[in-house]
Symmetry: C2
DNA sequence: TTGAACACCGAAACCGTTTTAGTTTCATAA
DNA sequence: TTATGAAACTAAAACGGTTTCGGTGTTCAA
């Protein structure tokens, strides 16, 4: 079953393709009789304008690209979901690409999207990305770009982020307000800005409450893995037996720490409180359930798409675009792994 | 910065568009001199053929659609990942759409994909889908279709599935071999075939080992939620205090059951063994970690794409397509929630 | 009787590429 | 000198729509 074309409709009705096209688009110079005939036939044959032909003529594809580091990950799954739902709502489809945290892949995938002539691109950078010429390439081609979560300050485009520093501050302060006095931090690797900001937020809270002992209570997790969590929990407790709380770069590490405590019969939160980050799905299911910072992926995805859309539409009216940085609020989720 | 076109190249070199095109595609009727000139210029200007124009002419988009019920879900995240990675490997891009288990959305999304003229569609049905005319529509339009996991037997297309019955049998038998004698099953809702098959597999195992007591040890979970797990665990233990194992439709329900046991100081697996299904990411993190059936989403995604690709290529050579049903093997993952 | 106004329609250009079916040019064979 | 053929090139059609512009025919007022 071939697709129905305007040509076929025109032939059947013995009119020109032009007239058929106009009849369907409410042009004034088509007689009511013709208009109705065309509409009826189009309806009957289930005519759908060929999207590709339209794309070619209009130089727009109603398609955007979404490039993220991971997908099997609660936060990013939510991001994708938010983007896709909001895009669909506005008549856009989303091509999803996963860099698997590899710079090489990310670079190639940007090319794929540009070749595909998408109307815009949403990017969350791979952890290993240092050189960002490929991202600059997007702007050079005048393709709209919005970055989210893992951004680069060197790129002049709109950005959707959370305030990692404030979020970390809030989380740490909650620990302090619950009575904790000696709080360790399992931080992320040195590269990403999020790692640094969360660390700084932690420091801010300690300082505000005059708890910055001068001791080294910060451990840098290289792999940001479950195993890292266990490892550093063990090490931290050995080095500081009177530790009463930890705040981790992400829930996975917190989960590892929690496992270590349970295996070694260390009471959580009796002896030690544990605070994670991101609010993975798993956090609510563990026993005790994990207190954490909710990082609203779905909302970030939604807002990122809307910002991209705004810039796409602005461009059409030839207005100038002023990149915005939108900060999505976070909240601390208190569960059983901390006292209250 | 506008995109470079063949026309521009032709004008600069004072040749026809035709020759420029041919020079780039190794036609024999282009002089070496011209060929080199064109190639050099194309390289210099970073010429990339306009994908949309190619799509229009070749009637193929090198794009497929992937339609799934959920994304914030370990299994489906893996499916998406498998599809995307394998597709990219073969020069295809993937448009992801999420039905959110809604029949209405699914129906509309199929239309979107057909309108978009994708080369093929991968579908995992929404839970609420009963009428499948929209899926038949895909075949009617002669768009390639492969279904995975949540399939419909009424559709004549290739299918990628697991053997739910055998997987459930294996899981239940593991419980039996570990010494369990009174095993309950928390089954899924009555609609989906997977629910039924897992139930039948459970029955098979009991029968084989002559443990089918005639007692009603089967509980039907309506929402397949954490709460359901807790609920039925409570009910089952009240009705059958000597229960020594449960096998659940999915890990989430098992997690709920596990939570109930922990809150009520019921030893797992000392008093009762718990076996889930799907191997969600969370299963490995719980304490005790959950034994389960591994449902290889990534592999299923990969294979589904490859099957779709095979049919797309077969069609090009006008060969006839014979729908295949591919069963991906599963394995039981024994962790701490069962004895060994 | 002319011309203005209006209603209706369609040819053609356009988007960017590929491919068919020629055309031109030049050297060689008859 | 003329036919033959190969080499190198190109016009035009095709993919499927949209839109501009021009044309035709009718009606009505001057």
């Amino acid at each position: 079953m071939q697709d129905v074309t305007l040509k076929q409709i025109a032939e059947i009705l013995n009119i020109s393709i032009t007239t058929a096209s106009k009849a369907l688009k409410d042009y004034k110079d088509v007689s009511p009789k013709t208009r109705i005939a065309v509409r009826n036939l189009a309806e009957k044959l289930n005519f759908k304008p060929n999207t590709t032909a339209l794309n070619l003529r209009n130089k727009e594809s109603k398609t955007i690209g979404l490039l993220i580091p991971e997908i099997v990950h609660h936060f990013f799954s939510n991001v994708i979901n938010g983007v896709i739902v909001e895009a669909e709502e506005h008549g856009y489809l989303v091509i999803v690409l996963i860099s698997n945290d590899s710079y090489e892949l990310e670079k190639r995938q940007v090319e794929l999207l540009l070749d595909k002539r998408v109307d815009g691109i949403l990017v969350s950078l791979a952890g290993s990305t240092i050189n960002i010429d490929h991202i600059k390439q997007i702007l050079k081609k005048e393709v709209h770009l919005v970055m989210l979560d893992k951004i680069s300050t060197e790129i002049n485009c709109s950005k959707i982020i959370i305030d990692d520093r404030k979020a970390a501050f809030d989380a740490t302060e909650k620990l302090i307000l619950s009575g904790c006095r000696k709080i360790a931090h399992f931080k992320g690797p040195d590269g990403p800005k999020t790692s640094l900001d969360r660390y700084l937020g932690y420091k801010d809270a300690l300082e505000k409450h005059k708890l910055d002992s001068g001791l080294n209570l910060v451990y840098t997790s290289k792999n940001v893995s479950l195993e890292d969590g266990r490892q550093y929990m063990k090490q931290a407790l050995r080095e500081h037996p009177d530790l009463d709380a930890i705040f981790t770069i992400t829930d996975l590490v917190a989960a590892g720490a929690l496992q270590y405590c349970q295996e070694n019969k260390i009471a959580v939160p009796g002896k030690i409180s544990i605070m994670g980050f991101s609010n993975w799905f798993v956090s609510g299911l563990m026993t005790p359930s994990l207190s954490t910072v909710d990082q609203p992926g779905y909302e970030m995805g939604r807002v990122a798409f809307l910002q991209l859309l705004k810039e796409i539409e602005l461009k059409k009216t030839k207005e100038s675009i002023c990149p915005e940085t939108i900060v999505i609020p976070t909240s601390v989720v208190l569960r059983q792994s901390t006292k209250n």
